[in-house]
């Protein structure tokens, strides 16, 4: 009744092609942005920032990146953890080597470095397909983690092998180090998220994005109609790695602060991000956000209910988390292989006709 496109007349191609074609959607989107930028920073506190909002934003970037590669271009990657490590370590090296460089630029350049590394590891994708590629990306995962563990230049020869983020300011607010305020960190991440999501959305509906999807749907057919697989796959790998690298840099610099590579960027992280996009929805921008929100919120919720309310031991809660995550993945694959994003699309279809569906 309220959610409908009737009466919403488009008078230009631009208006017809816009991301949120329905007025209500558009208003909801802008008000969400307004709340996120204006209201949340005022009410945010330490717990919400560190347990929910900041990890959600950072993982959303990583999920967006992997979704570009896996969801849009069809190349399954299990190397996201390794690429996040590249982002984190380049950010660390940049921050310590050029102390006067703005943290914003540091994060961006780390993304760029990761893009180059990602492109290198994407080269085999021209010959290897499907699972074989998924396993080949494991080479990136294990090799990169080993590299950052063994070569002490990467962690500036510190005795512990850890990297620690020095204190840096962004437009006058401290965003890294122990003295950063939750609101500043949150806003810093939010800026990246909004810009990168906007970029991803527009990339995926440009010629580049259509090439990716052609490769995903059937690579030989795409090649025959004139899509260059070399260009399409390598752009997908590099742009995806750019996103993942930024997520890694942010995770290290503003969120964790101190990182030990095997622990923070191990194979579990690669799987976590893969699960986000499966549960959220492959090939969907909204899905990346929903998946990230789900995977970040669920452990917090479970911990609150099982440990906080029922008083169980934390290890039992952790085991339950595994069972529930695994069960949910199976459930989603069986019931709705296109994830939460598809669920949302179905709801919208229903809403358009509500309350007179016939």
């Amino acid at each position: 009744m309220f959610y409908r496109e009737a009466g919403d007349f488009k008078t230009s191609y631009a208006a017809d092609q816009q991301t949120f074609a329905i007025k209500l959607d558009r208003r909801a989107y802008y008000s969400l942005l307004a709340v996120a930028f204006l209201v949340v920073p005022l009410v945010i506190n330490e717990y919400w920032a560190s347990a929910v909002l900041v990890p959600f934003l950072i993982y959303a970037i990583a999920a967006l990146g992997l979704n570009i590669l896996t969801g849009y271009c069809g190349q399954v990657s299990l190397g996201s953890g390794g690429f996040m490590a590249v982002g984190a370590y380049s950010c660390y090296k940049l921050m310590t080597a050029f102390p006067e460089l703005s943290i914003f630029l540091c994060v961006l350049i780390s993304g760029g470095i990761t893009a180059i590394v990602g492109m290198l590891f994407g080269l085999p994708s021209l010959r290897i397909k499907g699972f074989y590629l998924a396993v080949a990306t494991l080479a990136a995962q294990f090799f990169l983690v080993w590299l950052f563990n063994k070569v002490s230049w990467f962690y500036n020869y510190s005795a512990s092998g850890q990297i620690n983020a020095p204190e840096r300011e962004f437009v006058g607010f401290i965003v890294t180090g122990p003295n950063s305020s939750p609101a500043a960190v949150y806003l810093f991440c939010l800026i990246f998220v909004v810009a990168l999501a906007w970029l991803a959305r527009n990339l995926t509906r440009s010629a580049t994005g259509r090439n990716w999807m052609a490769i995903r749907d059937m690579d030989i057919a795409a090649e025959i109609i004139g899509v260059n697989p070399l260009v399409a796959k390598l752009t997908a790998f590099s742009i995806s790695s750019f996103y993942v690298g930024i997520a890694g840099a942010l995770l290290f610099s503003v969120y964790l602060g101190a990182v030990e590579v095997g622990e923070a960027f191990g194979i579990q992280k690669s799987f976590l991000i893969l699960f986000m996009i499966i549960i959220g929805g492959l090939g969907s921008i909204l899905g990346s956000f929903l998946g990230a929100a789900f995977m970040v919120l669920m452990p917090v919720l479970l911990k609150n209910v099982l440990v906080g309310q029922l008083g169980w031991a934390t290890d039992i809660a952790a085991h339950f988390e595994f069972v529930i995550v695994g069960g949910l993945i199976l459930f989603f694959l069986i019931v709705e292989p296109h994830g939460l994003a598809q669920l949302w699309r179905t709801i919208k279809e229903k809403l358009r006709l509500w309350p007179f569906p016939h």
């Binding site: 010959r127 063994k150 339950f320 988390e321 595994f322 695994g326 993945i329 199976l330 694959l333 292989p337």
Partner: protein
């Protein structure tokens, strides 16, 4: 001949043994992939789960003891008996059978005709589920598995080869457990090959692997075949779990050997049982020799973590179907 040369041979032999251990896990993958086209990521966790169940039965642990204690506030841990290894193995096998039936009924049945990558992800979900479930059921602490396989250096091999080298050479050091594993793997592979070549069920398995539709149309039940295949994979997982569990204790890291089995498969080809063995041997020898010759002296060690993947990656660039895999033919 110098002692270094003999030491090199010892590294080679140990690499071969380690390769056999990888092959044990890789075998389970190949079985399921051949029969259903599913790449079963959960194979490693199945090995872990089987080993956990075996230890649990042997020690008479109460399943879900932690959970029961947490809910009801009781203090139960053990039934107070210990079972002989043989009985416990049979019981664990029974659990793996039930597991195979449940997987077919609850998961695979609903995912018929989905794309392979969806099925692959489903097995990742299954792996997570089982990992949590196994820990909930039997607890997550490291357990010792002992089914009576001798461990430690094999004295006989050491003494009989001691005369080969010079003064500084005391014979080859080979772990008895690894020798047992090699024998077990050989028996397992032979019996699997015999089973799939000379029995009626084996023929049906091969038919399903060849063409689902054609197999269905001549009256082979896909669902029965899947249950059988997953049961066999469960059995192989149990064997792998026993071997790895006796070697390094039953713990979470056991499930990670699945990841080690992946490059083995890529080298050997997903569809070949001999390929799994040869691939395992190449990886086992390759990573030990690389560590010995290049990794430890020049790269700071621990190259075993990634060498297998890099080798497989480079190999695949030149031969995408693996050593023994069927040629990939692509059609539009």
């Amino acid at each position: 001949m110098s002692a270094d040369f003999y030491y090199g041979i010892e590294v080679l032999l140990n690499g071969l043994m380690a390769g056999v251990m990888y092959s044990l896990v890789a075998l389970g993958f190949v079985l399921i992939f051949k029969a259903s086209g599913i790449f079963n990521y959960a194979q490693g966790v199945m090995a872990l789960f089987a080993a956990l169940t075996l230890v649990g039965f042997q020690n008479g642990q109460v399943p879900f003891a932690h959970l029961i204690n947490a809910i009801f506030g009781t203090e139960v841990h053990h039934f107070g008996w210990t079972l002989p290894a043989f009985v416990a193995i049979l019981l664990a096998l029974g659990v793996m059978l039930i597991f195979a039936i449940l997987v077919e009924k609850l998961v695979l049945k609903h995912l018929v005709n989905q794309e392979p990558i969806i099925l692959f992800m489903a097995t990742i979900g299954l792996a997570y589920f089982m990992e949590g479930f196994g820990d909930l059921m039997w607890g997550s602490e490291i357990k010792k598995l002992d089914v009576g396989i001798p461990q430690g250096g094999n004295v006989w091999v050491e003494q009989s080869t001691a005369s080969l080298g010079g003064d500084g050479f005391y014979g080859f050091y080979l772990d008895s457990l690894d020798i047992y594993a090699t024998v077990v793997a050989a028996i397992l592979v032979t019996s699997l090959v015999l089973f799939s070549q000379y029995t009626k069920t084996g023929r049906a398995l091969r038919a399903v692997a060849d063409d689902h539709q054609a197999a269905l149309s001549v009256g082979i039940s896909l669902r029965t075949i899947w249950v059988i295949v997953w049961s066999i994979a469960g059995f192989v997982a149990l064997v792998a779990g026993i071997m790895w569990g006796s070697k390094s204790g039953v713990q979470f890291s056991l499930s990670l050997i699945a990841l080690k089995a992946l490059p083995v498969l890529m080298l050997g080809g997903f569809t070949s049982i001999p390929g799994a063995i040869v691939g395992g041997l190449i990886i086992g020898v390759g990573e030990k020799l690389f560590e010995f010759l290049i990794g430890a002296p020049f790269l700071g060690g621990a190259t075993e973590n990634w060498f297998a993947y890099m080798l497989a990656l480079l190999f695949l660039v030149f031969r995408p179907q693996g050593l023994f895999g069927e040629k990939i033919i692509e059609r539009v």
